[in-house]
Symmetry: C2
Subunit: 519 residues, 2 copies
């Protein structure tokens, strides 16, 4: 720590000291001192993204696997704006991220130069914590506060705005990161109420959200469910599930409103563990927004900001479930692989039969992949990452970050073609970093989900213009060409046999490989 | 207008009746009724974009050429967010746009479903006008207010948020669009002050912004400059300049701070016509943010929200310049085309010699294109669109919208490779609509501007990690493959002769054509 250290360098040193060791960057002029500091400070791996949604989504994927925040480096308001959609997803997944957003020098703002924008205003809707640094002397401290914010359980979006002069002026101070505050102690009375409800009810179900899904905690929850003879289900969209053979298998609440209502029918009591009352993704005319019937009793054991493992331990004792052996799923490889043309079931069979141990599946397979989760329930142990915010363009960026976090594991990215088009630039970052990702793009050449949604919202007989707004034909997208243009080897498959062969080829690569799956 | 009409249909009918006849769409579930209404209402041309920045940028380009607003259709908060960067550029260019952003049904918001976000909060920093419709009965009226807002001189961003139930419920009413309010009358005393200043000063310059650049007004401004023997210059970034042989030619204020200060040195008086005090794009350590010296007198004839043509007419009279014949630039085709390897000068020579009459140039050529503007000053009459907001990823979307507005004119899109990567999805829309756009991508495989900016902000001897954050190599981007994958025919050129041939080939196409210009 010397007087000659500028604010940018103090920030990079503070981040590294605070355990933030990866930065996904898309810099511009106002971020040049931060970029220059990357060479002075060992320990910060920086990875260039060609679109900011690639950077923010990668930070999300990194947090889910590393269980600690990465940073992003974004260029003023518009750079942040391009990253907002995947920050929205990360916020809903409760991933921790430290965004560093460059800003004009403090004294330059009054001149209203072309790139001037209300950065704080753009940041607030997708951030739990927003601050603009005021001087180089304070940048380090501000950075340490951002790290604490990002690490606050279960994870938060922290956005630190860094005016140019606070980056380039000297007087920077490296700050220590304060220890994380203890989580509030568990509420024993609430644990007893839940235990009582489980004993009393003949038709209870435990609904588990992401914060209760780490394998140890989820194992104990399964013991409780088994000992009290109640059902077990998880949210539809879980940030991360470690699953497969030898682990707990639980169904997800269906996406479809009618199926979800059916799935929850008959339960008089729903115990929430890190989950929220289950609601519909969208409202549909004449259908309810809440899945549970009006007479259902909800009891929350603990929320996402509480100490869920401790609360589950207490409930394990209170229900006498500690000695129950949880039922683990046996290894199985899904249905037999059919031959011939591709359809969602055939693709699911290939994935179920082939998914390797340790794989990290990033699932944005939308309509094609509705059945992939059940057919892989007995596959070798693996991890499943799902989109919790519903903003598409999630898969390729999140796969990038997951692969950066876990270089020894294979990432399998499953994405619809419409979804992949929003953030295809991530393929280039995968190529540059030689990330071990096998990608399937499900090329049904349409926003297929919307053809169903048209019907769901009550539109009968859509005309040609409406149909045109849901079609990705005219021209067909050429995924092999696009992928190779971005530096990722690719192949196109039209039959189940070809897919099975291509998937094995991708898995045997030590780098990115894309399969265009023609539907 | 029947009771059976739903809110979405009333909105589409109101838009068409109000002269908003194009919609750039990227819809989702919450926008399905709007999409369905497109089939019921004749007169709304809808064009699908595969990324929302393509939609908002296209609306910007459309406004600049059609001089009336287009609409966009965006999917909730994240869909709007993906369009913000190009809305920022459109706002700075003062383009008028009507954004329709779908939202959850009003009663669904309280459930905090995954896609729930603060849409108004995201919209405000890039909108002049924001409103959320509350019922289907009000949607038409809200739409008409949005149109008035978008058309308010010189142009505004209007964002109308459309909850699902207000779209699908019946009771919609088509609304008339109120006549535009009259602009405030001109300030005669101010006109006299400007005339006096021009007579008194030996070293005055008239600085013209976009609102003074329509050919008739700019002609008169040139008469005034000539009659009063004062200099004439425009902003660096003009939304639209109609220029070329037989028109007024004026230099732009340079982008580079030192050059800009030099260009304005010696002028004691600066007359602003629809322009602002010239300022640096960024602050740089030790350099001023304002280009004009401290003793300079600024006098504004009229601002962008005033009646600039009327004020210029009054000044023409007050300066006795009405009989002055303005000096028009003669036809010329720039320097001789060299042979051999490509460099910015050689590319400029090819463009200068070949640009066809009526071309619309969309310029995001960044470092490669600094010299393109002067070498085309005597080219056949054409139009030049420039990025006024500094957020890159501007060119391909704006070219899309300009081509939609002017199907009989050739669009020439000039873009850096780094810039084009943000919004390359627009190529697909160009292919789908068979838009007549010839694209040059300047493939220097780097964020070349930033290597200069590193030096400009005082970073000496950048290390390998910093250099890596500015390089688009590892792997090289394959523009021909990417473009063909998106449905646009493409060719790669490495010499000036090849470029000249490819440019002529592109111009002779009646559809999109991409040239990868290797530097």
């Amino acid at each position: 720590m010397t007087q000659a250290m500028n604010g940018a360098e103090s920030l990079v040193r503070t981040l590294v000291a605070g355990g933030v060791e990866v930065c996904f960057t898309n810099p511009g002029t106002s971020e040049m001192h931060f970029v220059a500091a990357l060479d002075k400070v060992p320990g910060m791996r920086s990875s260039l993204c060609l679109f900011e949604g690639g950077a923010t989504g990668a930070a999300d994927g990194y947090f889910r696997m590393a269980r600690k925040p990465a940073s992003t480096l974004l260029h003023l308001g518009p750079g942040l704006a391009n990253g907002i959609a995947n920050l929205h997803n990360a916020k809903k997944a409760r991933s921790g991220i430290v965004n560093i957003v460059g800003e004009h020098a403090t004294y330059h703002l009054a001149l209203d130069a072309p790139l001037t924008a209300d950065i704080e205003g753009l940041a607030r809707p997708v951030s739990h914590w927003v601050k603009t640094s005021l001087s180089s002397a304070e940048v380090g401290q501000d950075g340490s506060e951002a790290i604490v914010a990002a690490r606050t359980a279960p994870g938060q979006i922290a956005t630190l705005i860094l005016p140019g002069d606070t980056a380039w002026e000297t007087g920077g101070n490296v700050a220590n990161v304060a220890p994380m505050p203890e989580l509030p102690g568990i509420d024993s009375a609430q644990v007893d109420r839940v235990a009582q409800a489980l004993r009393r009810s003949e038709n209870a179900i435990i609904l588990v959200g992401n914060a209760g899904l780490d394998p140890e905690t989820f194992n104990r929850i399964a013991q409780i469910a088994q000992a009290t003879d109640c059902a077990l289900m998880t949210d539809w969209a879980n940030a991360r599930v470690d699953r497969g053979a030898g682990r707990i298998s639980a169904p997800r609440i269906p996406f479809n409103v009618d199926l979800a209502i059916e799935a929850l029918r008959g339960f008089d009591t729903i115990i929430l563990i890190g989950a929220r009352k289950p609601v519909a993704f969208f409202a549909y005319p004449g259908k309810p927004g809440e899945f549970a019937g009006p007479g259902t009793t909800f009891i929350e054991l603990a929320g996402t900001a509480e100490d869920i493992p401790a609360a589950v331990d207490a409930l394990l004792d209170a229900t006498g479930a500690a000695t129950t052996t949880p039922k683990l799923i046996a290894q199985s490889f899904g249905p037999e692989i059919p031959v011939g043309p591709l359809d969602p079931d055939a693709i699911g069979a290939v994935i179920g039969a082939t998914l390797p141990e340790g794989a990290i599946v990033v699932d944005e397979s939308v309509t094609t992949g509705r059945g992939f989760f059940p057919v892989t329930s007995g596959a070798p142990p693996h991890t499943w990452l799902y989109n919790c915010g519903g903003s598409i363009g999630f898969c390729l960026p999140v796969a990038t970050g997951a692969a950066m976090a876990c270089p020894d594991r294979k990432v399998v990215a499953l994405t619809g073609d419409g979804s992949a088009m929003y953030t295809l630039q991530s393929l280039w970052t995968m190529a540059r970093e030689n990330l071990d990702v096998t990608i399937m793009v499900f090329a049904n050449q349409s926003y297929h989900i919307l053809t169903g949604e048209l019907t769901n919202v009550g539109v009968k007989n859509p005309g040609p213009r409406a149909a045109d707004m849901l079609s990705l034909r005219r021209p067909d997208l050429g995924w092999v060409r696009m992928s190779k243009g971005l530096g990722v080897d690719a192949v196109r498959v039209e039959t189940t046999e070809e897919l099975a062969r291509a998937f094995r080829a991708g898995l045997s690569e030590n780098g990115p490989y894309l399969i265009e799956v023609v539907l």
